[in-house]
């Protein structure tokens, strides 16, 4: 077991160092893909074992994998792999048009691997301190990735990202310290007071007064990274200004990881507070997030910015779902997490190619994609429809469950959600339609677009909408048990 963990974490870590040296070579993208593939394989093996033998520890108790983070590491590794596939052609084009120098290529590839490493670390570690460190380093890596073009806009975005998330994460650290304070009495003042499994074991005895304050700090802290309104201000900029693969992983993975972190702490807080307050907070955040995000959509001019707002909206939905609690809503939340990662990253892939074709990110200047390259165009259209909750894609399944559950738990919240969904639908579809259809001036690209990832993702999303395989269902079920306790 230990070796497997070691492999999973070592490949990206060493990979990032390696890439720091050779990241500018001609074959670097392929190496990058290879590394991600290696990680993927190891992760799949690991999660298979988890599925068969149940939760397990490594290196003492400092690493821990159960079906919840097993699910997420699989997702992370998978999307990481497909994104690296996508970035092969994308980054080559970027270099041809001179936006990427060889130095930047090195930074990009190395940071990409580091980013994957930190996320896997954050998911796998059992130590909430290490979890914090991982998130911090993830922030740093992401900052470098976002600022990689060195344009004014990119710098500003990265700066805001750094300051806001830095401050946020410091608050999270304070929250972590508070939890440590609370746990000291039961677990003694040693590393053991930092281990989530131990905390989970004693969560009933943890002091509610401390835990509530701690949870607030953690929620605000990690919530900033999740992009909950009103802590979301950095997100749109960061997504819009970085390279598209980065936007894909930020949207598809980092948000999930942050949400995962909050969930872990919610479990603890619920256990100690016993008054469902954390759930209520999440519901509140979720609703506000959905509303604000959807209403922000219509004023966007930059396509990546627009889709990042849609990510905010979906994070809001998931938060809402997890806030509702209960097996069905949680199941829906997890499903939504999975499908959203798949679909949203697919969308960013197509958007990336579209922007390169049109030579701009301004929606108004992108036209007639289905004519110049049908696959990209239809990929974008289908992806957006999927993200808008059109059946038979998985997003619809999860939204169906969320809405119907909320209709039982919180009837008054449902119309708000539907309003949000309606507005989002109107806006995004009109934008996408104007981009995909109509006459065009775009030109074909030097490197063939990598559309395999897009269709793999969309295909999976489609499958999840029509048919959820039993073992996956089982997997989700175990994860739900962990969250609902």
């Amino acid at each position: 077991m230990d070796s497997l963990f070691l492999v999973i974490l070592a490949i990206p870590l060493l990979g990032s160092m390696l890439m720091g040296l050779i990241g500018h070579r001609e074959l670097a993208p392929e190496v990058n893909t290879g590394l991600s593939l290696g990680t993927m394989i190891a992760v799949v093996i690991l999660s298979m074992e988890v599925l068969s033998t149940g939760p397990s520890f490594a290196f003492g108790e400092s690493f821990h994998v159960d079906s919840l983070n097993g699910l997420l590491i699989t997702l992370t590794a998978f999307v990481g792999l497909t994104t690296s596939l996508f970035s092969r052609s994308y980054m080559r084009v970027e270099r041809d048009i001179g936006r990427m120098t060889s130095v930047r290529m090195r930074i990009y590839h190395s940071m990409y691997q580091l980013f994957m490493f930190t996320m896997l670390l954050a998911l796998l570690t059992n130590n909430i301190g290490i979890l914090w460190v991982a998130m911090e380093i993830a922030t740093l890596a992401a900052v470098l990735l976002v600022s990689i073009y060195r344009t004014a806009a990119a710098l500003e975005a990265a700066w805001k990202y750094f300051i806001l998330c830095g401050v946020g994460i410091s608050l999270a650290l304070f929250g972590t310290i508070l939890i440590y304070l609370a746990a000291e009495r039961q677990l003694g003042g040693s590393t053991s007071a930092f281990l989530w499994t131990n905390l989970n074991a004693v969560k009933m005895q943890l002091e509610p007064a401390i835990m509530s304050i701690a949870f607030v700090f953690l929620l605000v802290g990690y919530g900033t990274k999740m992009g909950l309104v009103p802590l979301h201000s950095w997100l749109a900029d960061a997504h819009a200004e970085g390279p598209t693969p980065v936007s894909a992983v930020l949207s598809g993975l980092l948000l999930n990881v942050a949400l995962y972190t909050v969930l872990r702490f919610k479990v603890l807080a619920d256990g100690s507070m016993q008054n469902g307050l954390p759930g209520k907070m999440l519901v509140g955040f979720g609703l506000i997030t959905v509303l604000v995000a959807t209403f922000s959509l219509s004023r966007q001019k930059d396509v990546k910015r627009m889709f990042s707002y849609s990510s905010i909206e979906h994070i809001g939905l998931m938060t809402f779902a997890f806030g509702l609690g209960g097996p069905i809503a949680t199941y829906a939340g997890l499903l939504h997490m999975t499908v959203h990662s798949l679909v949203k990253s697919a969308i960013f892939f197509t958007v990336g190619h579209a922007c390169q074709k049109a030579g701009t990110q301004i929606i108004a200047d992108i036209r007639g994609l289905v004519k110049v390259s049908p696959t990209v165009g239809w990929g974008l259209v289908v992806g957006s429809l999927a993200i808008l909750g059109m059946p038979p894609f998985g997003v619809f399944a999860s939204e169906f469950l969320i809405i119907t559950t909320s209709m039982q738990e919180l009837p008054w919240a449902t119309p708000i959600l539907l309003l949000g969904l309606g507005v989002a639908f109107a806006t995004i579809f009109s934008f996408v339609q104007s981009m995909a259809f109509g006459e065009t001036t775009a030109k074909p690209l030097a490197h063939p677009p990598a559309l395999l990832p897009v269709f793999i993702h969309l295909g999976l999303a489609l499958m999840l909408g029509l048919y959820i395989p039993p073992y996956l269902n089982e997997w989700f079920g175990q994860a739900v048990k962990i969250i609902t306790g």
């Binding site: 301190g129 900052v143 300051i163 410091s170 440590y180």
Partner: protein
Amino acid sequence: MPNFALQLLNLLAAIMLLITFAMLSQRRPLSLNRLFTLHGVVLVLSSLLVAYVTGNSHLYYSAGLTLAIKVVLIPWIIHKVIIRLKAESDVDTLINVPTTMLIGIVLVIIAFNLAMPIAQLSTSITSGILGIALACILLSFMMILIRSKAMPQVIGFLTMENGLFFAATAATSGMPMIVELGVALSVVGGTLILGVFMFHIREQYDDLDIDHLENRKED
């Protein structure tokens, strides 16, 4: 824990709070940096004291680490950057100083009220310390919030880290070593990146004025 040591720790905490207030009102980057160094020194002292009192050996390492990073390395980097970028000139705050002070006091009160219940419940040595730590955090938050230049924001950010460290060491009598290592590491990394950043910002617009960084918005 001997009463005397406790008073000493409280004293250090108070000094820390004082320094934070001073930083809040300080306009000149270089002296801000000096104050930050001082802040670090107090932090080191306090963790040494806690280490001595609790006999918690790894706190000595952490104190050494803090000394190395927060008192020597980072201030040096910042100083270099300031000199290199000729950013010594005064930095005007968005809100005038007296108001800032008033808000600061309010924050302190809030912090204490928040910390009171926790401190009572906590088994560890301290009562007011946690409150002061929280106050430092909120104050430095405030500092980032009201500064219009990049450099003071960075310093404010680091001060916040100090506050957290103080909370970690003094209030909980030391977190596990590994965590502290990680935290310290990330702080260094952050500072380095920020240093690099400064130059880029400087390249873009020939000063470190944050106003330049306000163009990405919904119009």
